[in-house]
C-alpha cells in the first residue's frame, strides 16, 4: 500500500483508530464524558479528512476497497450522522443508570462497517462490512439489558440478520461458483456460461444477494423486523438503524445496479420496481393506524426506502445525485426525530410516548419545532430539505419515464401526509390546557435543569433543524456539489 492509499483510506482508518483508542482508554479508566468527547472528536476528524481522501480518489485500495467520490460522500455523511447520534446518546446515557461507555465503541465499529460497505464491491469486503455492522448493532439494540422490549428487539434482529447474512453468503457462493467472479464490479464482464441451469443458478445467486440487501434496507417483503426494533431499541440505536445502516446498503445496491450484466438488467429492474411499489404502499398503509411515533417512523422509513429505490432504478447521473440528496434530507430528518424522542423518553416505555407529544409545542418549543420540521421534511412539504429530495427523486423518475413508479410515489406522498400530520397536530393540541391554561408549567418540572441536561442534544437539534430548512430554501451549493460528485461516476 502506498502513501496515497493511506490518504484515501484516512477517514476509515481514523474511525477504526478512535474505536481502539476508546477501548484502550476504557481499560484504564471509565469516564463517560471523555469517551463521548473522544468519539465525537474522532468522527469529526474523519469527516474533516474526507476532502483529503477525495483528493486521492478515485482509487482502488488493494482489491477490497474502492475509494471514489460516492464512497467518500457516504463516509462523510455517516461520520456526521454518527457524531450527532453519539451526542444524543451522551445525553441519554447520562439520564439512565448503567455502563454507557461501550456503546460508543459499538457505534464506532458499526460506522466503520457501514463505511466499508459503502466503499466496496468485493464479496469479501461486503461480507466483512456487513457483519461488522450487524454484530455491533445486535449489542446496540439490546444495550439496555433490563428493558424487555430492547432485548426482544435485539434477539429478533440477531436471528433475522443471521438468516439474511446466510442468504447473502449463499448467493455470493453461487455467483462465484457459476461465474468465477468474486466482485460485483466484475459481474458485467462475467456473463455466465451458456446453458440454462447455470444461468438459473447464477440468477438465483444474485437474487439471494438481493434478499440479503433487502433485509438490511427493510424493504417489503423483508420489513417485518423494523417496527419492533425501532420501538424497542434505544433511540440513538434506532436512529442508526434507520439511517446509516440503510444508507450503506443502498449505496451498495446502487453499485450493483451499475454493473449488473445487461441480460439481467430487465429482470433486476422489474424486481426492484416491484419491491419499491410494495414498500411504498405497505409502509404508508401500515403507518396510518400506528399510535406510537417510533412505529410510525419505522413504517415511514420502509416507505422512504421505496422512494429511494425510484431514484436507484432511474439511475443515471440525475438518479445518483437524487439518491445522495435524498439521503442527506432523510438522515437529518430521521436523526432529528429520534433525538427528540430520546429527550422525551429517556426511560424505556412500552407505550404512552404519544401522550408525551401532546401539546409539546407549548411546553418545549425547540423539541416540537425540530419534530415538526423533521416530519414536514419527511412528508416532503416545501421549504424543507425533504421537498427538494422528493423533487429530485421525482425528476429522476420522470427523466427515466418510469411512470408507474412516479405515480405511486406521488400517491404515497399524499397517503403519508395523514400520519405525519397526525403527529404534527398532536404537538399543537392543548385540550387539557385549553380548560386550564396555567397548567403548562406542571408538565415540565424544572425546565431550566432539563435544558442544561440536554445541551448536546440541543445543539444537534438546532443544527439538524437549521440544515433541514436551509437546504429547503437554498439548496443550490449542495446540488452543485453533488452534481460534480456524480460526474465522475460511470453510468
Amino acid at each position: 500500500m502506498s502513501h496515497a492509499d493511506f490518504t484515501a483510506l484516512l477517514p476509515q482508518l481514523i474511525i477504526a483508530g478512535t474505536a481502539i483508542t476508546v477501548l484502550v482508554v476504557l481499560t484504564v479508566r471509565r469516564h463517560h464524558g471523555a469517551v463521548a468527547v473522544t468519539t465525537v472528536a474522532g468522527l469529526l476528524l474523519a469527516l474533516a479528512t474526507s476532502p483529503r481522501a477525495a483528493a486521492a480518489a478515485p482509487r482502488s485500495v488493494t482489491t477490497l476497497i474502492v475509494v471514489d467520490s460516492y464512497s467518500i460522500f457516504f463516509t462523510g455523511l455517516a461520520c456526521a450522522a454518527s457524531a450527532a447520534i453519539a451526542l444524543v446518546a451522551y445525553d441519554l446515557w447520562r439520564e439512565r443508570a448503567g455502563d454507557a461507555e461501550e456503546f460508543y465503541v459499538l457505534l464506532l465499529c458499526a460506522t466503520l462497517g457501514a463505511c466499508v460497505l459503502a466503499s466496496t464491491t468485493h464479496f469479501m469486503a461486503i461480507f466483512l462490512g456487513l457483519e461488522t455492522l450487524s454484530v455491533s448493532l445486535y449489542a446496540m439494540i439490546a444495550y439496555c439489558r433490563d428493558d424487555p422490549l430492547g432485548l426482544e428487539g435485539g434477539i429478533k434482529y440477531l436471528i433475522l440478520a443471521a438468516v439474511a447474512s446466510a442468504f447473502l453468503l449463499f448467493g455470493m457462493a453461487l455467483v462465484y461458483a457459476q461465474s468465477g467472479v468474486i466482485s460485483l464490479s466484475l459481474l458485467s464482464v462475467a456473463e455466465p456460461r451458456e446453458g440454462s441451469t447455470i444461468t438459473a443458478a447464477f440468477g438465483v445467486g444474485l437474487a439471494m444477494i438481493l434478499v440479503g440487501f433487502g433485509f438490511k434496507l427493510a424493504v417489503v417483503p423483508f420489513h417485518m423486523w423494523t417496527p419492533d426494533i425501532y420501538q424497542g431499541a434505544p433511540p440513538p440505536t434506532a436512529a442508526f438503524v434507520a439511517t446509516i445502516s440503510k444508507g450503506a446498503v443502498l449505496i451498495l445496491l446502487l453499485r450493483m445496479t451499475n454493473v449488473v450484466p445487461q441480460s439481467l438488467w430487465p429482470h433486476l429492474t422489474v424486481i426492484l420496481a416491484g419491491v419499491a411499489v410494495l414498500s411504498m404502499f405497505t409502509g404508508n398503509l401500515l403507518a396510518l393506524r400506528q399510535p406510537d411515533p417510533r412505529r410510525i417512523l419505522a413504517y415511514s422509513s420502509i416507505a422512504h426506502m421505496g422512494y429511494l429505490l425510484v431514484a436507484v432504478i432511474a439511475g443515471g447521473k440525475i438518479g445518483l445525485a437524487a439518491v445522495a440528496f435524498y439521503l442527506i434530507a432523510y438522515f437529518a430528518a430521521m436523526i432529528g426525530a429520534f433525538a427528540v424522542l430520546a429527550v422525551l423518553a429517556p426511560e424505556p416505555t412500552a407505550s404512552g410516548l404519544q401522550e408525551l407529544l401532546r401539546g409539546l409545542a407549548w411546553r418545549r418549543p425547540l423539541l416540537a419545532g425540530t419534530l415538526v420540521t423533521a416530519f414536514l421534511s419527511l412528508a416532503g412539504i416545501p421549504l424543507t430539505a425533504g421537498f427538494l429530495g422528493k423533487l429530485y427523486v421525482l425528476s429522476a423518475g420522470v427523466d427515466a419515464s418510469n411512470w408507474l413508479l412516479v405515480i405511486s410515489f406521488v400517491l404515497n406522498s399524499a397517503l403519508g401526509l395523514y400520519y405525519y400530520l397526525r403527529v404534527v397536530v398532536s404537538l399543537f393540541r392543548s385540550d387539557h390546557t385549553l380548560s386550564v391554561p396555567d397548567q403548562q408549567s406542571h408538565h415540565s418540572p424544572t425546565p431550566s435543569h432539563r435544558l442544561s441536561a440536554h445541551f448536546a442534544t440541543g445543539v444537534v437539534l438546532l443544527v439538524l433543524c437549521g440544515s433541514l430548512i436551509w437546504l429547503g430554501i437554498y439548496p443550490g451549493p449542495l446540488i452543485a456539489f453533488l452534481q460534480s460528485m456524480v460526474s465522475g461516476w460511470p453510468s
Binding site: W362, L376, I381, P382, L383, F387, L391, L394, S395, V398, D399, V406, I407, V410, L411, S413, A414, L417, Y418, L421, R422, V425, F428, R429, S430, L434, P437, Y474, P475, G476, I479, A480, Q483
Partner: protein
C-alpha cells in the same frame, strides 16, 4: 426587489407578531393589522402608478418584474412579476387579511401570537402565488400556504377541526402533487426537446410555441395542473373538503379560505393552465362546463338544504365558483373578465358573510339555524349587514357579484347558449338560499331569550368597508376590468395563436376585430367603454357605437 419584499415583509412581521405575543396578547393583533395596512397601501400605490417599479416595460402587462437566481442547477429562479390580475388579487388578499385580523380580535384569545403568525404566513404565501413567475417557486408557495392554514383550522377551529383540517390538507396536497408531477414532466419535455431545462414560466411559454400541436402526454400534463386548480376552486365532485374546512375553521380561516384560497385556484387557470396548454385545455371544455353547471346548481341546492348556517355559506361558494369555472371555459374574454369580477366580489361578499356568521356564533354559541330566528328584533344592525351581503350573494344589481356573473353569462351565451341558459337558473337558486337564510336567522318568531349584543363598532367598521367595496365593484367595475384587461388580452392572444382550430369548434365566436360590448349591463355606466374584446389592434370601441349585444 419590492416584489420580494411584498412577500418577505409579511413573513418577517408575522414572526415579529409571534414574538410580541409573549408579552401581551393584543400586540400581535396590532402588529399584523399595521403590517397588512401598510402592505395594502404599497400595493395600491403601485396600482395607481404613484410608485414606478423597475422591470415594467412599455407595452407589457407587467407592473414590475423581479428576477434573481435561486437554484441555478435546476434552472429555477426567484422570478416574480406583478400583472393586473395578480395585483387585483393581492389587493383582495390584503383587504380580506385586514378583515380576518379584525374579525378574530375577540374570537381568538388563545395563543394569539402564533395565530397571527399563521395568518400572515398564509397571506405571504398567497402573495407569492399571485406573483410567482417560476413554476417551482409557484408550487412552493402553493404548498407552503397549506401548513399554516392547516394549523389555523386544527388549533383554533371548531368541534370537528382535526378531521376537517386533515381532509383539507390531503385533498389539496394530493392534487398539488399531481401538479408537481406535471411541472416536472413539462420541465423534462421542453428540456429534452430544446436543451433548455428551466422552470421559468416565461421561458416555458416561449418553448411551448415551438410545438403547437398537442399530444396525449401534454394532455396528461395539463390534467395535472387542472387537478390542483380544480380541487382548490373547487369543482364538484372534488369539493367535499370545502364545506368541512370552511365550517370548522375559525372566522379568520373561513374568510381566508373562501375569499382567497379558492381564488388562487381560479388564478391558476388564468396564469398557468390556459397559457401553457391552450389546445389541451380546450379539449376539456364540454366536461368543465358541465361540471360548472353541476357546481352552480348542486352547490346552491345543497346550500338551501343546510341547517348549519356556516355550512350554508360554505356551499354557496361552491355555487359561485361554478360561475368562475363557467367563465373560464367559455373561451371568451368577456366571460373571463366576468370571472375575475366574480372572484373579487365573491371574496368580499362571502368573507363578509363569514364574519357575520362568526359574530353570530360567538354570541349565540351555535351555528344551528334551528336555534336562530327573529334575531332582527335583537340585533338590527347585524341583520341589516347580513341583508346587504345576502343580496350581494343572490346577485342583486348594483353589487359586484351581479356584474361579474352577468358578464360570465353574457360571454358564455356567445359560445355555448345552452350552458348559459341553464346557468341562469343559478340566480334563482341563489335567491332561494339567500332569502331562506335571512328568513331563518333574522325573521320569524324570536327564539333567543337572553339578551345578546348587537354588532360592535369594530364589526361595523368591517361591514362598512366591505359594503363600500362591493358597491363600488357593482357601480364602477371599470377600474377593475381595466386592470385585468391586459392580462386577459394576452391570454386571449395566446389562445388564438396556439389553438386556432377552435374557431370551427366554437361557432366562430371569437371573430377578431369585433367587440363584444354591452350596453344593457349597467345603466349607470352609460356610454362608458365596458370591455373591448378581441380586437388585436388594441383599438377601443365604445358601447354606443356598437349598439348593444351582437
Amino acid at each position: 426587489m419590492i416584489l420580494s419584499w411584498l412577500i418577505l415583509s409579511l413573513l418577517l412581521c408575522g414572526s415579529l407578531a409571534w414574538l410580541t405575543g409573549r408579552w401581551h396578547s393584543d400586540l400581535p393583533r396590532w402588529v399584523s393589522l399595521i403590517t397588512v395596512c401598510i402592505h395594502l397601501a404599497c400595493i395600491v400605490a403601485i396600482w395607481t402608478g404613484s410608485v414606478q417599479l423597475p422591470g415594467a416595460g412599455e407595452g407589457t402587462r407587467w407592473y414590475a418584474v423581479y428576477e434573481r437566481p435561486w437554484i441555478p442547477e435546476f434552472g429555477a429562479s426567484i422570478h416574480l412579476g406583478l400583472d393586473g390580475l395578480g395585483l387585483l388579487l393581492i389587493v383582495l388578499t390584503d383587504l380580506l387579511g385586514i378583515m380576518a385580523i379584525l374579525a378574530s380580535w375577540e374570537e381568538i384569545t388563545l395563543r394569539s401570537g402564533f395565530f397571527h403568525f399563521n395568518v400572515l404566513a398564509i397571506l405571504a404565501a398567497l402573495t407569492g402565488v399571485f406573483l410567482a413567475l417560476d413554476l417551482l417557486l409557484f408550487y412552493v408557495c402553493w404548498e407552503v400556504m397549506l401548513v399554516p392554514l392547516y394549523l389555523l383550522i386544527a388549533i383554533w377551529g371548531h368541534e370537528r377541526r382535526l378531521y376537517a383540517a386533515m381532509k383539507f390538507f390531503i385533498f389539496t396536497q394530493a392534487s398539488g402533487l399531481l401538479m408537481l408531477l406535471a411541472i416536472v414532466g413539462l420541465y423534462f419535455l421542453r428540456g429534452q426537446a430544446s436543451g433548455t431545462y428551466s422552470f421559468d414560466y416565461l421561458e416555458q411559454l416561449e418553448l411551448a410555441t415551438t410545438d403547437p400541436g398537442w399530444t396525449r402526454f401534454t394532455f396528461c400534463l395539463m390534467l395535472g395542473f387542472c387537478a390542483a386548480f380544480a380541487v382548490k376552486l373547487p369543482t364538484v365532485p372534488w369539493h367535499t373538503w370545502l364545506p368541512d374546512a370552511h365550517t370548522e375553521a375559525p372566522t379568520a380561516g373561513s374568510v381566508i379560505l373562501a375569499g382567497l384560497v379558492l381564488k388562487a385556484g381560479a388564478f391558476g387557470f388564468f396564469r398557468f393552465m390556459l397559457p401553457l396548454f391552450p389546445a389541451e385545455s380546450q379539449l376539456l371544455t364540454p366536461y368543465a362546463l358541465t361540471l360548472a353547471l353541476v357546481g352552480i346548481l348542486y352547490g346552491g341546492l345543497v346550500a338551501f338544504g343546510q341547517t348549519d348556517l356556516k355550512r350554508l355559506v360554505a356551499y354557496t361558494s361552491v355555487s359561485h365558483m361554478g360561475f368562475v369555472l363557467l367563465g373560464i371555459f367559455a373561451w371568451n374574454q368577456l366571460a373571463w373578465q366576468g370571472a375575475v369580477l366574480v372572484m373579487i366580489s365573491h371574496g368580499i361578499s362571502t368573507g363578509a358573510l363569514f364574519v357575520l356568521v362568526g359574530g353570530l356564533q360567538h354570541r349565540l354559541g351555535s351555528r344551528e339555524l334551528s336555534r336562530m330566528g327573529g334575531l332582527w328584533s335583537i340585533m338590527p344592525r347585524m341583520g341589516g349587514w347580513s341583508m346587504v351581503f345576502a343580496m350581494a350573494s343572490l346577485g342583486l344589481p348594483a353589487v359586484g357579484n351581479f356584474v361579474g356573473e352577468f358578464l360570465v353569462l353574457l360571454g358564455t351565451y356567445q359560445t355555448r347558449p345552452a350552458f348559459a341558459a341553464v346557468a341562469t337558473l343559478g340566480f334563482v337558486v341563489a335567491t332561494a338560499y339567500s332569502l331562506a337564510m335571512m328568513q331563518g336567522v333574522f325573521f320569524g318568531p324570536c327564539r333567543q331569550a337572553e339578551h345578546v349584543a348587537d354588532s360592535t363598532r369594530r364589526e361595523n367598521l368591517i361591514m362598512v368597508t366591505m359594503t363600500v367595496t362591493i358597491l363600488t365593484l357593482g357601480l364602477f367595475p371599470q377600474a377593475v376590468l381595466d386592470t385585468s384587461e391586459p392580462t386577459m388580452t394576452e391570454v386571449r392572444q395566446r389562445v388564438d395563436q396556439m389553438a386556432p382550430d377552435r374557431h370551427s369548434a366554437f361557432n366562430g365566436s371569437t371573430r377578431t376585430g369585433h367587440a363584444d360590448s354591452i350596453s344593457a349591463m349597467a345603466p349607470h355606466n352609460d356610454g362608458r367603454r365596458i370591455v373591448s374584446d378581441g380586437n388585436e389592434n388594441g383599438e377601443e370601441i365604445d358601447v354606443d357605437s356598437q349598439g348593444g349585444i351582437p
